[in-house]
Amino acid sequence: MIAHPPFGSPSFELMAKGLVELHRLIKDGKDDSPEAESVRDALDAPLKVLTGAEKERAQMLSEDLYSVSEPPSATTQREMNPQAQQQLNEAIEARQSREWDRALALLRRWREYISPALLSYIRGRTWEEAGYPAVAAAFFGHASQCDPANANYRALYMAALAESDPDAAGKLARQVLADHEKFAPVVVAEAAAIRFSEARFTSDAESVQLYRELIPILERNLTKIEGEGGTARRAPEYEMTVGKLGICHELLGNSGAAVHYFSRGLQANPDNDGLLAARGILQYGTSPRAIADFEQAVRLESPVIWPYLFLAHHYLATSRFEQCRVMCETGLRMRGSDAAKSQLEEWRAIAQAALGFPPEAVRAAFEAAARLDPSNDLARRNQDAFEASLGAARTRPHSWWEQKSEAAVRQFGLAERRYSFAA
């Protein structure tokens, strides 16, 4: 993965958020209020420490935000022409190549030729990709207001709001779900995703209640999408809906139903690594398809730890130590809990021992396992056994080590996933 420099300092981030707030007040006719004055006061400190380029960017952001807070009259709109279209394409290309300032400057220069909804949508995408969800939400919200028939604008607005103002997004999601028949499937799917992420902060009982409430709504959403026929099943909202249905069932302990929905999602998009990992975990040790799912997720370079962890266990259990070692090392670079990484370190130690690595390397991996998860007793016992065996020249077959069964690893994975949804 390529690491990109951030689009602005922490002070610029404060400035951008403050400007969004100030323009919200301007939009509400409160630009002369004490509230607006305190927002301006709060901007003094960050503004002082911005670089010259950041100052200009902040000033231009404020100018662009006027398209939301005090939109120009429709009479200033000009008809699109080939030159403006070419410049619009250039702006989109600049955004795609992460030249945010250039993209925004081109949009500003040619703004009169671009419809307000499209202009706000592209500005929103630019700021979203630059890592500023609060700014993106302001523009997406405006795009949605300008073109209420475009459900994607509304869904994008909700997604950006979920990142920048989770409380406001939760409120909006509740409104959508309470009247879900009135909204497009993509909006309902996004609302469900927002409510789902809120479950992290609720009790188990409340989460269970929420999953039970979401299932019928998501099922109706799915029926609606399928009713639209054609390419609807390839739409992101389809994968989102079946994925969320699968997770709801998984968390309620309905494995069969969960596998069913994950499979439906995979029929629509066989390259969805999240769905592959989810189905693989549920079926590990009970169906050979689980291994194929994990292998495919690894080929797709899934950023989550699960496919690597399960394949590492599978390779260890089948004495493919080199493959196990490589899988452990790859998995350790992915997103995952300390408990999952401790497990990988332990298996890496065992694979290294089996491959004849120096005792120091094996010991270091065992120690990392203990450090990452002090409750990993199996790692400690395996290390003790390894240390005790060092004097005697002996080979250690797979059966020599204490190891988890496939069912135990599956339970570990499901519990960790449940924990990660709730964390």
Partner: protein
């Protein structure tokens, strides 16, 4: 006519519609005054600290922070986001350099490379905060709107 003209400085401040002069106040940055602890440092005895803090000013209205410039001037300074109830006021006629501004007050420019675009009107000597605010308030009649 004094030998040396006090430096010409600009500041965005709330306009009193009664006489088109700035509103005196120290609770917000749009008043003619300095916010204690924010704009001006105050010691435990209630005296101002001579540490180059004070009421912010600029050499031209276009140099003011854009969130302070009234939004009606957006066609000149893009992004200007100040309230339209504020105006860009100026006082003095001399060059923007360190020097006496009015009784008890002096302009201190920020350190840095020229052209310096920010400075503060600070007390010339250690005085109680109230006296400094009074000195600032006493300049009220010398300010006039200039947004040209």
């Amino acid at each position: 006519m004094p030998l040396t003209q006090p430096p010409k400085v600009y500041r965005a401040m709330k306009r009193d519609p009664a006489d088109n002069l700035p509103v005196v106040g120290s609770t917000s940055s749009s008043g003619l005054g300095a916010r204690p602890g924010i704009d001006i440092t105050v010691d435990a005895a209630g005296n101002v600290v001579l540490d180059a803090s004070g009421m912010s000013v600029a050499p031209g209205w276009r140099d003011l922070d854009f969130p302070r410039i009234p939004k009606r001037l957006r066609h000149i300074v893009p992004g200007a986001a100040g309230a339209n109830s504020t105006s860009c006021f100026t006082t003095g006629a001399g060059p923007f350099q360190n020097g006496v501004v009015a009784n008890g007050l002096e302009l201190i420019l920020d350190l840095g490379r020229a052209p310096v675009t920010h400075g503060v009107i600070a007390p010339v000597q250690l005085v109680p905060l109230a006296e400094y605010q009074t000195d600032l308030g006493n300049t009220r009649a010398a300010w006039q709107i200039d947004e040209t």
